[in-house]
Amino acid sequence: MTTPTMAVTVLRAPRAARADLTFGLSVGVLGVMVAAAAFAPLIAPYDPDAVDLAAFYSGPSAAHWLGTDALGRDLLSRTIHGARTALLAPLAVVVISTAVGIVLGLIAGWRGGWLDSVLGRLFDVVFAFPSLLLAILAVALFGKGLVAPVIAMSIAYAPFVARLTRSLVVAERSRPYVAAYRVQGFSPPWIATRRVLPNVTPIVGAQSTLNFGYVLAELAALSFLGLGVQAPAADWGAMINEAQAGILGGHFLPALVPAAAVVLAVVAVNVIGEEYSNRIGGGAPA
């Protein structure tokens, strides 16, 4: 009996180790980005908006580790400061959409009946609007910036959370422990919020972590289009937008540095989200 078990451990060990390494690296990357966002003014070697026309498009050097952009602004400092909007705005979207989605999903799944049907139809309508399109519409209505898109994206993502929550709640509702609480005379709202909800939130949380990556990329795209964070500000998407002209002149770094930051952040968040949903078991039903 012991031999097969050992064989299994030997076979599985390298894979698990590799997964742990990727996960560890991702946590590290995200940790560095969070630290950069939190302590940007202390870490950044230069003022992100300080123009130095004598040093425009200077390549990487001891003075400017990642070089400078068309106006001689230090790319490293701008990228460090850019982590603030890049991380905070998606965080707001994920927190709002998760809170709203859990409440609506819990109501739909627990109550069922006509309320469930009405909410389901409402979700269908919102699903017909891709999140980035809803964000663009919001900018058309309320003007450029991040506030309107963040609210629009929260609305766009809430139905995904709500539908997942609903399906999990429906599955929980028929489990024996719920019946047991009912028989003991606990009120349905109490059972739903105090006993069912805690069983559902880890899986919803895993899904929301994955949503964070998508939202980050979409908000960066919005700023790249010139509709989100506006140009002089140090934001990854806005930096790439400003650097487009430079690419044609062969100056790649001003665009590639913030682009790499976006990709790194998305990959790190996705790895963490997937590992998290694997660890809580089963993962989110597709």
Binding site: A140, F142, E218, L225
Partner: protein, 318 residues
């Protein structure tokens, strides 16, 4: 009979969703506080003629539901009102830019289908081997590259550094346009290849483990026949469903790619109209994208039993 009722039911759901979506697009303007005339004429001189024109176009003195009825009535006849930046019919402005966007989306769609299906099938047939794992890692890496990052990297490498492809515009028609669309289509396709590839792989891996495949193999059918007729044909359902969901993503992402490559398509028109405060154009394009997305998914939904007769018999086990 039941098939007809199913199709009618789906069509009813489709119409209801489209109706509710049109309400959202139309009444979104009412969320903006203040006077509608000053909202619609933001950034322009509110001359008496302009105010009168906007009033007439939107019927702003009518009650809101009548405004909606006259707007949706126009839309159903192909009349989307007048563009504020071009002083032209919105329908004409959009129609002019439609070919570029269609070419871009079709070309990207073909790339996604060919590369996604091939990568997924090869991975599935080599499941568990190094090739499978390399394809999965490759797909995941591609999936992490947002369209705008893909666009600037492609421009930097293939247009500027190597000079193989143009970086700007849509060419003078014919072959030249196809040539101009290679890089933009690639940038558009990148993110979506991963979805089709992964669904193809998992759907085929699922079928490969089925008894009917084992039976077909033990009957002595050639491996190619088994894979084509028994594995792939049964895997199409989920692949089609995911492809339908891609449509919305493709249409929206085309606005990013068109802006990056300076293509005069509908997507870049949307972005430009937001910047130039041309709300009638924005409203029309948003509505068109939503309609296209909902309609394509309804068609796939309705067609599914034709491709897979088991779906008609109440879904059944795949």
């Amino acid at each position: 009979m039941s098939a007809l009722r199913r199709v009618l039911g789906k069509l009813g759901g489709l119409l209801l969703t489209l109706f509710l979506a049109s309400l959202l697009v139309f009444f979104s303007r009412f969320l903006v506080p203040g006077d509608p005339v000053s909202f619609l004429l933001r950034g322009r001189k509110p001359s008496p003629e302009a105010v009168a024109a906007v009033n007439a176009q939107y019927g702003l003195d009518l009650p809101p539901w009548q405004q909606y009825l006259s707007w949706i009535g126009g839309v159903l006849h192909g009349d989307f009102g007048r563009s504020l930046q071009y002083r032209q019919d919105v329908g004409a402005v959009i129609g002019e830019r439609m070919p570029v966007t269609l070419g871009l989306v079709v070309m990207a769609g073909l790339m996604i289908a060919i590369v996604g299906l091939a990568a997924g099938a090869i991975a599935a047939l080599n499941r568990g081997r190094v090739l499978d794992r390399s394809i999965l890692i490759g797909l995941t890496a591609l999936g992490a590259i947002p369209s705008f990052v893909g666009a600037i990297v492609l421009i930097a490498v293939f247009a500027v550094q190597l000079g193989w492809f143009p970086s700007f515009g849509s060419g003078d028609g014919g072959i030249d346009t196809l040539y101009h669309l290679v890089l933009p289509s690639t940038a558009l396709a990148l993110v979506f290849v991963v979805l089709v590839g992964k669904v193809t792989r998992s759907s085929m891996v699922d079928q490969l483990g089925r008894e009917h495949v084992e039976v077909a193999t033990s009957r002595g059918l050639r491996r190619g026949t088994v894979i084509r007729r028994h594995v792939f044909r049964n895997s199409i359902g989920p692949i089609l469903t995911v492809s339908g969901l891609l449509v919305a993503g493709l249409l929206v992402a085309s606005s990013i790619v068109e802006s990056a490559f300076g293509l005069a398509g509908v997507g870049s028109l949307l972005v430009q109209s937001v910047s130039r405060l041309d709300f009638p154009v924005v409203q029309a394009i948003v509505l068109l994208i939503v309609f296209a997305f909902v309609a394509v998914n309804a068609v796939i939904d309705i067609l599914e039993p034709v491709i897979d007769p088991r779906a008609a018999a109440g879904g059944g086990a795949r």
